[in-house]
């Protein structure tokens, strides 16, 4: 059995009212912010199922926006986010959808800017979240670990080249690809922190299209 921590039971400190619908929404926003890693010009938030239905009453819309703006789950400004100047940085809109193939608490961030990106995630309960897709790649990013995310061409030795450059313990490794020799993605969860130099170095590897280092969420 995985060793659990009692701190998970007596936290997080968060603004209410719902760990999955409010805190989870903020955390998904924070992860999307770090994955996109640029200034958006426009964002469409697609909220699904329970996120669409009870999202307003739970502040899910405020939460995903606040997270994308970098506010943490215990920031009391979340409540008034729509009226604050910080929320005027980019255009945004919300869509409320029903799709039973999606998780009850699912969101898509459709981000436009210098690059366009679609980031999809679920709030899976008790404030825990997972980013499951970036554009069409399956990933698994929970914000619990420092995570290295790569999109690259599926060629031999890619995994060893990456893991050889990382000198901290790897907690988990998840790879996916379209098809042999096509685009592929790698999601490396780390127990420690890696240097920016390592990330820059990995970014130079031929056939790596995108690299992101997503820091563990503080709360």
């Amino acid at each position: 059995m995985k060793q659990s921590s009692l701190l998970d039971i007596i936290s997080p400190v968060m603004v209410g009212p719902s760990s999955s619908h409010t805190a989870g929404a903020v955390r998904l926003g924070l992860l999307a912010r770090n994955i996109y890693n640029e200034k958006p010009s426009k964002v469409t938030f697609k909220l699904y199922n329970s996120y669409a239905l009870t999202g307003k009453g739970h502040g899910t819309d405020k939460g995903v926006l606040a997270g994308l703006l970098g506010l943490s789950v215990d920031d009391t400004r979340i409540k008034d986010i729509f009226n604050l100047d910080i929320s005027k940085q980019f255009e945004y809109e919300f869509e409320y959808l029903e799709d039973f193939n999606r998780h009850p608490n699912a969101v898509d961030f459709i981000i436009e800017g210098k690059h366009s990106m679609k980031i999809s995630g679920d709030s899976i309960g008790a404030g825990e979240v997972v980013i499951r897709k970036i554009n069409d790649f399956t990933v698994k990013c929970t914000g619990k670990y420092n995570t290295l995310l790569l999109v690259y061409k599926d060629v031999p030795n890619m995994i060893s080249r990456v893991t050889n450059s990382i000198h901290v313990n790897i907690a988990s490794l998840h790879c996916d690809r379209y098809a042999k020799g096509e685009d592929a993605s790698m999601c490396v969860c780390l127990d420690g922190d890696i240097d920016k130099k390592v990330i820059d170095f990995l970014g130079l590897i031929e056939d790596v299209y995108m690299i992101r280092y997503i820091k563990k969420l503080e709360s």
Partner: protein
């Protein structure tokens, strides 16, 4: 040091063998597992305790309604009543009920709270731990010990049952919060390890089957008012356990029952708002008004 403690039987035998309290054993394990000193660990717990106190204060001073307008002004009614008429059960009862309601209302108006174990059940543990501290004359360190005890009990339950209404009903949210509080309170009053675990078991046993049927799918009705009820429930469990009354079904088996009951509970009664209070005539009317 004990590495893996997954059941109450293991916890009990670890404490008995080493002569440590639950919080001592837990803080050592946590510090080790998270690569920090015991002091660092206690500081995190202290930060959460401070946030709990702030939530109570903010809640006691606010009347603001939630976004839906369903809840938010009940704590002030209780405070007003206690000003004019003391509670039959005394000051501690008054503190616990108002603190629980204050925290819960702070939650639904998007104020800052501590999910313990969840946001919907956030008022129970703080109300009990902080509400009795005046009466028992306890300092901050003692409250930190109590919160660690509560967390450790919740953690062991969560090894078997996900603490989420959607998975196992409200018995796993407010029910577990009440059991955590019962354990913490019993520890604060000098209970033995057996008494602490019996308080936990007695509290859970009497909440088995508690459904999660929130009106309009919002963490408001019945959640907010359930918090003061189950905070007091914890006190009853603790009183019984401290007198030497035991749960005939041992703690781990009570958790097995919790797990099984959660599995057998209809999905319509697990946070989906498809039955129970959520499908009463009034709730359906409210749904039409609020969610459209």
């Amino acid at each position: 040091m004990e590495k893996l403690i997954n059941t109450f039987a293991e916890l009990s035998s670890c404490c008995t063998r080493t002569g440590k309290t639950i919080w001592q054993a837990a803080q050592e394990r946590e510090a080790d597992q998270n690569d920090m000193t015991i002091e660092d660990f206690r500081n995190i717990v202290k930060k959460n305790l401070t946030a709990m106190k702030e939530a109570i204060q903010n809640g006691l001073n606010s009347n603001e309604m939630s976004m839906s307008g369903l809840c938010g002004n009940d704590c002030s009614k209780l405070i007003e009543r206690y000003k004019n008429e003391r509670s039959l059960l005394g000051k501690t009862f008054e503190r616990i009920t108002t603190y629980a309601l204050a925290t819960s209302e702070e939650n639904i108006r998007m104020g800052k709270i501590v999910a313990c174990p969840t946001a919907g059940s956030c008022g129970i543990v703080p109300a009990v731990i902080i509400g009795v501290s005046d009466e028992l004359n306890l300092d901050e360190e003692a409250l930190i010990n109590a919160l660690i005890t509560a967390g450790e009990v919740g953690r062991i339950v969560s090894n078997k049952v996900a603490l989420a209404g959607a998975v196992a009903g409200c018995q796993a949210e407010c029910g577990v919060a009440s059991a955590m509080s019962a354990a913490a309170l019993t520890q604060m009053r000098g209970g033995t390890i057996d008494e602490i675990l019996n308080a936990m078991a007695l509290a859970i046993k009497n909440l088995l089957g508690l459904t999660c049927d929130p009106v309009c799918g919002l963490v408001e009705v019945p959640c907010v008012k359930r918090n003061p009820f189950l905070a007091i429930h914890a006190v009853t469990a603790s009183e019984l356990a401290l007198s030497g009354i035991t749960s005939k079904i041992p703690p781990d088996e009570v958790i097995d029952a919790l797990e099984q009951t959660g599995k057998l509970m209809s999905p319509t009664l697990k946070e989906s708002s498809q039955a129970g209070l959520a499908k009463t005539r009034t709730a359906i009317d409210l749904e039409k008004r609020l969610l459209k």
